[in-house]
């Protein structure tokens, strides 16, 4: 096979803004903080940046969700770019990273700044977290078959998947709980995480229900924060101050029906397709992965990704997460920064930042020893994208 094009690009920089609850800072302010940190981290100056991309861009969305558009950020930072894009539809929240990889590999730009910014915590400060379509009189599009019935959140849509998984495979709440507890243990080692105090299985099982089987601790925590990365052409690697992180393979496939309630096998997700696609482009195998940074907007999603990526057989995600296997020191440390469950809902990019830092051995107390291969996977239900990163 011809070498996959994604290997012509590397991650050279990563930066994050202040991350927290109810910061009441503007999304543009947070984005500029993260962007400048990422550019500095890459050993570059803003004038070196000649590409910019973001998820999802200025699209109609719930308050605090979309962050600033790329035109706004380009203007604020005074960038002159050869390539730019934002978008919502694609292989999950890392879609603009994959696009930037392709743009760099195609020679459209040399150093692309890619960011994801949320201010969902501040946005919900006065109202609490509202459902999708809350307050609307009329619902258009795909939501018309969900929202009038009260299925107003991805928590509802995915709780339906999780219960089907429990029904077919005997997966238990305690298995989902292990994902949440492990994330919390890891968050204790991450000074930037939101929730760092210990969480016990008893706490977990007694927590209030959101949409069963999902309780409070199965759902990620809305935050304010921005994460930025710099994607560069691989031929600059030797000139940079930090070890380059290589993009070994990406997974972007979507082969099932991309409709939440019509997905053929609810015990899988689009993760199945993206993961298979990624491995088909890789020279590595699941056994080569040193740490997995898997989307946990809901605990169940990480479990489904473990199965999709082939770390265990289909249906065996529950038993797989038992016995410390996914904790630091275990066979496959999962979401070592605390994930979105305890680290904060940075919407996909928190996993990217952690994978890069683990591969560079910058993670201090939570460092995975000899970390050479990391997998990042984002999305849930009919949305999925993933990539293998290497040192």
């Amino acid at each position: 096979m011809r070498e996959p094009l994604e290997r012509k690009a590397i991650v050279t920089g990563v930066g994050q803004s202040q991350i927290g609850r109810r910061l009441f800072r503007s999304d543009l302010d947070l984005t500029c903080e993260a962007a400048l940190a990422a550019i500095r981290d890459a050993g570059l100056a803003p004038d070196d940046i000649d590409g910019i991309a973001a998820y999802p861009g200025p699209v109609p969305s719930p308050p605090g969700f979309s962050g600033p558009g790329v035109a706004e950020v380009q203007d604020a930072l005074g960038l002159r770019v050869s390539w730019h894009m934002s978008g919502l539809e694609g292989p999950g929240q890392i879609m603009p990273i994959i696009q930037a990889v392709l743009a760099v590999a195609a020679g459209l730009c040399r150093h692309a700044l890619v960011y994801r910014t949320v201010t969902e915590s501040s946005a919900a400060a006065d109202t609490g977290r509202l459902g999708i379509g809350a307050g609307a009189q009329e619902i258009r599009g795909f939501g018309a078959f969900l929202i009038p019935f009260g299925a107003m959140s991805a928590a509802n849509w995915l709780a339906l998947y999780a219960r089907r998984h429990m029904h077919e495979y005997g997966t238990k709440r305690e298995h989902l709980g292990m994902i949440a507890l492990t994330a919390r243990r890891h968050a204790a080692l991450n000074p930037a995480a939101i929730y760092r105090e210990p969480l016990t299985m008893e706490d977990y099982l007694r927590a209030r229900m959101v949409s069963d089987p999902f309780c409070l601790y199965d759902c990620d925590v809305p935050v304010d924060g921005s994460t930025a990365v710099v994607i560069s052409s691989a031929d600059v690697a030797r000139d940079l101050p930090r070890p380059p992180v290589r993009i070994h393979a990406v997974g972007t496939a979507l082969r099932g029906r991309p409709v939440w309630d019509q997905w053929e096998d609810l015990t899988t997700m689009a993760a199945r397709d993206a993961a298979a696609h990624m491995w088909s482009r890789a020279d590595l195998k699941p056994g080569d992965v040193d740490t997995a940074q898997l989307y946990d907007g809901f605990s169940f999603l990480a479990l489904a990704w473990l199965e999709a990526l082939g770390f265990c057989a289909k249906g065996e995600g529950g038993p797989f997460v038992e016995g410390g296997r996914i904790a630091l020191g275990g066979e496959l440390p999962l979401n070592t920064w605390g994930g979105q469950l305890s680290g904060g809902r940075l919407h996909g990019f928190g996993f990217v930042a952690e994978a890069v830092r683990q591969l560079r051995a910058e993670c201090g107390a939570r460092q995975v020893p000899h970390c050479e291969v990391a997998v990042v996977a984002v999305g849930g239900g009919p949305v999925a994208g993933c990539m293998l990163l290497t040192r």
Binding site: T127, G128, L130, G131, I132, G133, A134, G135, A136, Q137, E138, I139, R140, G141, F142, A144, F145, L146, I147, P148, F149, G150, A151, M152, S153, A155, N156, A159, L160, Y161, R163, R164, H167, R208, M209, V210, S211, D212, P213, F214, R257, V259, W260, D261, Q262, E264, L266
Partner: protein
């Protein structure tokens, strides 16, 4: 089940007939006349055989609970909770599902695989929602 002020599905080109049929007390789906595939949500082409000759076809309104969840969180201020959400798979075709509410059934009696039948809740003069109740009332 608690009733809440439901937003109303918009009457859009491909979906209007679905909601109007519900309002007339019939559950109908677009069906491909060539390969007999039921297509939901409604589309202008059959995704299986790419046939373009589609027709609105009534179904029995019978199905089984494929999966369900009890929602406990109010998604807007004052929304009554809890309520049950389910995917019901219609008997006519594997994978033909509706997101819906199960009504006339205590929460603790709902089971995956439970036979259910459609009932309609009228929202406007044009639109009703297809809800489901147990075939055998508990």
């Amino acid at each position: 089940m608690a009733v809440f002020p439901r937003p109303v599905p918009a009457l859009e080109p491909h979906t209007e007939a679905f909601w109007r049929a519900c309002r007339a007390g019939r559950l109908e789906f677009v069906r491909c006349t060539r390969c007999d595939y039921f297509i939901h949500p409604p589309r202008p082409v059959c995704p299986r055989c790419r046939g373009r000759d589609l027709t609105w076809t009534p179904v029995s309104g019978r199905g089984r609970v494929f999966t369900f969840t009890i929602n406990h969180k109010p998604w807007f201020p004052g929304q009554p909770v809890p309520y049950v959400l389910a995917l019901v798979e219609l008997v006519e075709q594997q994978g033909l599902r509706l997101t819906t509410n199960i009504v006339n059934c205590p929460f603790d009696r709902i089971r995956i695989g439970m036979p259910v039948r459609v009932v309609f809740e009228n929202l406007t003069d044009d639109v009703a929602l297809p809800l489901f109740e147990p075939e055998e009332l508990p």
